[in-house]
């Protein structure tokens, strides 16, 4: 069951590669939140309740509801155009993300002798790298945040794979990371929206030599 969810997760990444509407991205993020909720529910059913509740709350509340809404709010407020405006044609994006998944598959096979389930490792790695890929290849600033969130999801999966022995502290860490960064980034996106009329990274390369 977990594996199916994770595979779905991976597929969502691929879909992200070809999606060219911001709304699609947000939906995918929400979907990933739900997937993560499922995974964590299945995996962590036997750990202590407090921790479980916390994680579930995190997945459902933050990843599935709060953040997508927040992003929607930002987009509305700053009247950002609805296209993602990638630098690369979708075709290449898909190819690259597939390559990323393949690579993480190979890598997960290479690292041996470690107590970790390869599927988790694969999904996490794929998420992290696709997130980075999205950040690198998309034009809008909001998409940077989205890519960042994808990375966070990957990290979350990775932590899940070790979660039943995972100290709560690090779990807290994830929350703090997402919460703070998203908030701060959101604030700055707003600022940028107020400062520049057009929310594209092209406004943000004046500091250079």
């Amino acid at each position: 069951m977990t594996n199916i969810l994770l595979i779905t997760f991976a597929i969502s990444l691929i879909y992200m590669g070809i999606a060219n509407r911001l709304s699609t991205y947000i939906n995918i993020l929400a979907l990933q939140g739900i997937i993560l909720f499922g995974v964590s529910f299945i995996e962590l059913i036997q750990i202590n309740t407090l921790n479980l509740i916390f994680i579930l709350f995190e997945t459902i509340f933050f990843k599935t509801l709060a953040i997508p809404l927040f992003l929607n709010y930002i987009i509305k407020k700053n009247s950002i155009t609805r296209e993602a405006e990638p630098y690369l044609p979708d075709f290449i994006s898909v190819v690259i993300i597939t390559a990323i998944i393949l690579g993480s598959f190979i890598l997960s096979n290479i690292v041996s002798g470690i107590f970790i389930r390869k599927m988790f490792f694969l999904a996490a790695l794929a998420a992290v790298f696709s997130g980075l890929f999205i950040i690198i290849t998309r034009k809008k600033i909001v998409t940077h945040i989205m890519g960042y969130l994808v990375i966070e999801n990957g990290v979350f999966i990775l932590s899940l794979s070790a979660a039943n022995k995972m100290p709560i502290l690090v779990n807290l860490g994830i929350t703090l990371d997402i919460f703070v960064s998203v908030l701060v980034l959101g604030v700055f996106v707003n600022r940028i929206g107020n400062t520049f009329e057009e929310m594209s990274v092209d406004n943000l390369n004046n500091l250079k030599d």
């Binding site: 690292v111 950040i135 960042y148 932590s159 100290p167 990371d177 960064s181 004046n206 500091l207 030599d209």
Partner: protein
Amino acid sequence: MFIYYLIISLLIGAATMLNRNRVVRIVLLILFLVVQTTMTIYAYYHLNEENSGYFKFDALGVIFLCVLTILSYTTIYHSYVYLKHRKDSIRSQSIYFAALIILIVVMTCAYLAAHLGVLWVFIELTTLSVAVLIYHERTPLSLEATWKYVFICSIGITITFIGIILLSIAIQETNIANFSFKAIPAQLINVNTSWLKMIFLLMIVGFCTKMGLFPMQTAAIDAHTVAPPPISAFISTTLMNVGFVSIFRTYTMFSHTPILKWMNIILMLSGIISIIVSAAYLLKVNHLKRMSAYSSIEHMGLAAIGIASGGIGYFAAIFHMILHSFVKASVFYQIDQFHRNFKTYMISETGNYFNRNKAGAMVFLIILIAITAMPPSGLFITEFWIFKALFTSSHMFIFIAALFFLTVCIYSLTKNFLFILFNQTKDLLPAEEKPNSTETYTQYFLLAIVVYLGINPPEFMINLLNDAVSILPK
């Protein structure tokens, strides 16, 4: 004890945030400095002592804590001067000082953290608290820089976090205490080396954002450019020290595993590339603060090389970081005065500083000597040691390359500083207010420290340094 320190100073920070009265603010600041100082002294006298769970007053932390405390005095003073001349609104001033206090507190915690997770959390916090300060001037440029800084640091910190998770997976343990730096090495004995390599790589790349090493040096430079000069001083000294401490701790953590040589290669690579990049940009950079930022990158590269070459290199690297902190801080303090004199940071639009502000010009002259690591600057000694270590570890190619590119850096720095001091070709409009030479005393003081430490470092400092490197393989 430490927990009280945290609470008190955070309270002071909150008070500064809310307070709108000048006198009260000064009182609060002085109060905070007192607290910070007492904390430092306490830490020094309770060396290698666990405190309130996640913190430990070990030698490395205490050394850099001392540096931080000394610099927090000067930085707060210069921030005060800076704000006085900027005539900001009371509110933004309160925010500034509150954020500054928080930053200092958070960095203190980062130095003393004895637990990987805690260290990580506080590093994240430094990013946030410094972001507020970087954005203080509220210009589009500062917005851009802050955005980049926060974003890249978040990415970096996340990469580090992945490393930490992998580590936690690697050491099959549930107990939080086992995540302290003391406990980890023992559990790494029978972990697959390729796994260790990946963990180390990810963690280092993350920390590089803070220390300003290649490949993640980029954000730090932009942050330097727009931050208020006193804050730039902090970014390129104590904040980079945070990065250094974390890298050093990580290195120490793994130093008894078979991947030691591999780690050295990585750090060596990162260091030398940093030096090359800084050399390349110093040749053409025209923005004074960016120039100083690049020179910081160069020195970070040297420190990394120092660690990587081992032996006396560990010792030298820490020493180098300390001295560099003092020098670089004084650079940025002087840059503040410089900026008030010329109303610009662009080197090509300045000149003849020697006759416009004699005291400041002398500071620049001494800084030029100090930062290019020529005697009587202490950096000369540390660089000598680093190169000795490099030679001993028989990395001849790196040795030559480093020497060569350092020479290039020296050329560019000399050229630019001499231009600022002596160039007569520009006809500039005179400075608005007469430069105040009392503002340069702090710089003279710091530079005097640098010279003194270079010639005759006090006993306790040597002991601390030896203590800090004692665990590492000889």
